[in-house]
């Protein structure tokens, strides 16, 4: 019988927005008790004084590269990297090689994740066969195998008639439809369109190209009465579209990512490919609008869009470099500094956007630190400053603009069931 006692931590309840100091006793992967002065002589003790305990984070949007590109990230390495960053449940997008568009591949993914003994995977299947945007994929079989959402992430389903059918059919199984919004004709290259792209001679991708796609998807979701989730919102125009939809009570949710909240297009000035992401980093006005939207709930949740790449795909001229950065292990620190230290959100409010809100969006049980619940929690140190170095990174890939940079606040430990990890 394994027992762990977390002593003297400040326990965050993101649902109520409260913090109270308590000990937490965990036995065989379940929370046994939460309270003052708990005793358990034989338990492993974890000193949490001046630290916070929060439910484990749920990542609505990330990329593992198995099957097909395991050198960038396997399901196992990805689950371990997520776990190190405080993510106990993750939704890997199905744009692997081949794409996850069948029952067999969903089962394979779950199996590989179970073997990793770290974060748990919540499978997301493709909307269309082979992610080709032409024919409806076997959504029912994937649901039966464990998929809880569908997405053709990486591309937008351009065919409006097909997207209508996807929304209608997904309702059968209450699958969440997640949309990567991008009108391809408006996105010739991955740099926000404006004075920076003009200076650099890069053909821009205007934020309105994302908003137009989001608007079509939202109107169709409303009309078919299906729940829709907009992925990685990056532009102020998309925020306006979401605001419009939510004011009308349309069932749409949205996420943005740490890099859109912390960085702007100005980072592109040296043509450094580690700042190349899809959708692209945008202007300071967009960044501010995203922060406001996260604060007022127009954007519901924050996901990492963890996108590992091999050095040979990233260490290239900007136009040909792969887009995406890894995010599991830096997300909390970047968000803590960008949102909490700058007083946009309180720590419990940030935690809510990483835990209960994503759970509600997915329609799963939100993790909580309470007796009888499954052990699913993180230990956070908000005092610590640390430098992200290569040897600290658990992910197989190292493509992040935060490499070598000082970060504030850190996930110290993560616990899910019997899996426990302490970051050194």
């Amino acid at each position: 019988m394994s027992r762990r006692l977390f002593t003297g931590g400040r326990v965050i309840d993101p649902l109520k927005g409260t913090i109270k100091i308590a000990d937490v006793l965990v036995e065989d992967g379940r929370i046994k008790a939460v309270g003052k002065n708990l005793r358990a002589a034989d338990a492993e003790k974890i000193d949490c004084r001046n630290r916070y305990l929060a439910p484990g984070f749920i990542d609505l949007h990330c990329h593992l590269r198995q099957p097909g590109e395991e050198q960038k990230e396997s399901i196992a390495s990805g689950c371990r990297a997520a776990f190190a960053g405080g993510w106990t449940q993750i939704c890997p997008m199905p744009n692997t090689v081949p794409p996850i568009d069948s029952e067999a591949l969903v089962r394979f993914e779950l199996e590989a994740a179970r073997a990793a003994d770290a974060a748990r995977v919540i499978p997301v299947g493709c909307c269309t066969k082979g992610r080709q945007g032409k024919e409806l994929a076997e959504l029912g079989e994937m649901w039966q195998a464990g998929a809880r959402a569908i997405s053709d992430d990486g591309s937008w389903v351009s065919d409006a008639g097909l997207f209508r059918r996807i929304l209608e059919y997904a309702k059968t199984f209450d699958l969440l439809v997640m949309s990567h919004c991008e009108v391809p004709e408006l996105v010739p290259e991955l740099a926000d369109e404006g004075v920076v792209s003009t200076r650099l001679g890069l053909h821009g991708a205007p934020g309105v190209g994302e908003a137009i796609a989001a608007m079509r998807d939202i109107l169709l979701a409303h009309w078919t009465r299906t729940r829709l989730h907009i992925c990685h919102v990056s532009s102020a125009e998309t925020v306006e579209v979401l605001r419009w939809a939510k004011e009308r009570g349309i069932a749409v949710t949205a996420e943005t990512c740490p890099h859109y909240l912390a960085l702007t297009v100005d980072a592109l000035n040296g043509f450094e490919a580690n700042y190349k992401v899809n959708p692209p980093l945008r202007s300071e006005a967009d960044r501010k609008s995203l922060i406001r939207a996260v604060v007022d709930g127009t954007i519901d949740a924050i996901a990492t869009d963890h996108a590992p790449h091999a050095p040979e795909d990233k260490d290239k001229e900007f136009s040909n470099a792969a887009s995406g950065i890894i995010g599991f292990e830096t997300a909390f620190s970047v968000l803590y500094e960008t949102l909490v230290l700058k007083k946009a959100l309180t720590l419990p409010e940030l935690i809510a956007r990483l835990t209960v809100v994503p759970a509600q969006i997915l329609g799963i049980e939100p993790p909580r630190i309470a007796p009888e619940a499954e052990a699913n929690l993180v230990v956070l140190d908000t005092e610590v400053s640390w430098v992200l170095s290569r040897d600290k990174i658990v992910s197989c890939s190292h493509n992040t603009p935060w490499l070598g940079k000082k970060l504030r606040g850190r996930v110290i430990a993560t616990l899910l069931g019997e899996s426990f990890r302490v970051n050194q």
């Binding site: 369109e193 004075v195 003009t198 650099l200 001679g201 890069l202 821009g204 043509f271 290239k316 900007f318």
Partner: protein, 313 residues
Amino acid sequence: MAGLKHLLGIAELTGDDILAILEQARRFREVLDRPIPIVPVLRGKTIVNLFFEPSTRTITSFNLAASRLSAQCLNFAVGGSAVKKGESILDTVANIEAMRVDGIVIRHSAAGVPHFLARHVSCFVVNAGDGCHEHPTQALLDAFTLIEHFGTLKGKRVLIVGDIAHSRVARSNILLLNKLGAQVAVCGPPTLLPAGIEEMGCEVFYHLDRILSEVDVVNMLRLQTERMTANFIPSLREYRRFYGLTRERLAKIKPEAVIMHPGPVNWGVEMDYDVREFSQTLIMNQVKNGVAVRMAVFYILALKRGILSEEAK
């Protein structure tokens, strides 16, 4: 200019850097007028022209500049084949650098390639045009030509006409002219004017006839005829009607104003053939000054890196 290790763009230069290059170019311009127009400044040094995009004119100008400085110059024309074979730029360059070169002149269709290269090689890098980003030596030779003609750029009003969106020449020129105190205007249809261009420091006009008579310099850009397929303009015919330097428009420009073009010209599209005969056309001076300016760039980069030949010291 202590920090000048490469010539990647005008953006990285100060006004003083630019003036120093132009002053050096003026000295080399005198050398070029001598009976034996060669100096031993880079004897024993090797410069590679690495062109991923064909351009006989530019490569010849860089070649000539290197040989007038007594350097060896190798041309490494990378056709589509190496790129298609999946050979990365880094592989190509590692091979070239292994042959111990002192400088690389690079042209590439993607913006930022010279910057990327500069992070990975130990020799100096000269940007000879990267995508739609910069073409610094062209802007330097344009400025040299204008100063030669007017004495100064201060207060001069320069109009750049045409496809600003896809022009590296336009971007480098706008940056440079602003740094040396000229006023810049650009003119073209909105489809060919990139977002936020006015924030780079220029006035924006859609109608050539509303501005043509007010400027001291008219710099006509080459229209890339392949853009026709992408709906930037409806036809070459309509383009000429609104943005071409026609014989009628020639009559409207100020008597002391000059006409420039980075070449090669699409006669009958951006410019009527008659413009050749116009006495205030500086197009041939631009070509001649290109060599002197490129010599100056090589000289200054070699000087900064302490690799000038013994004779030069």
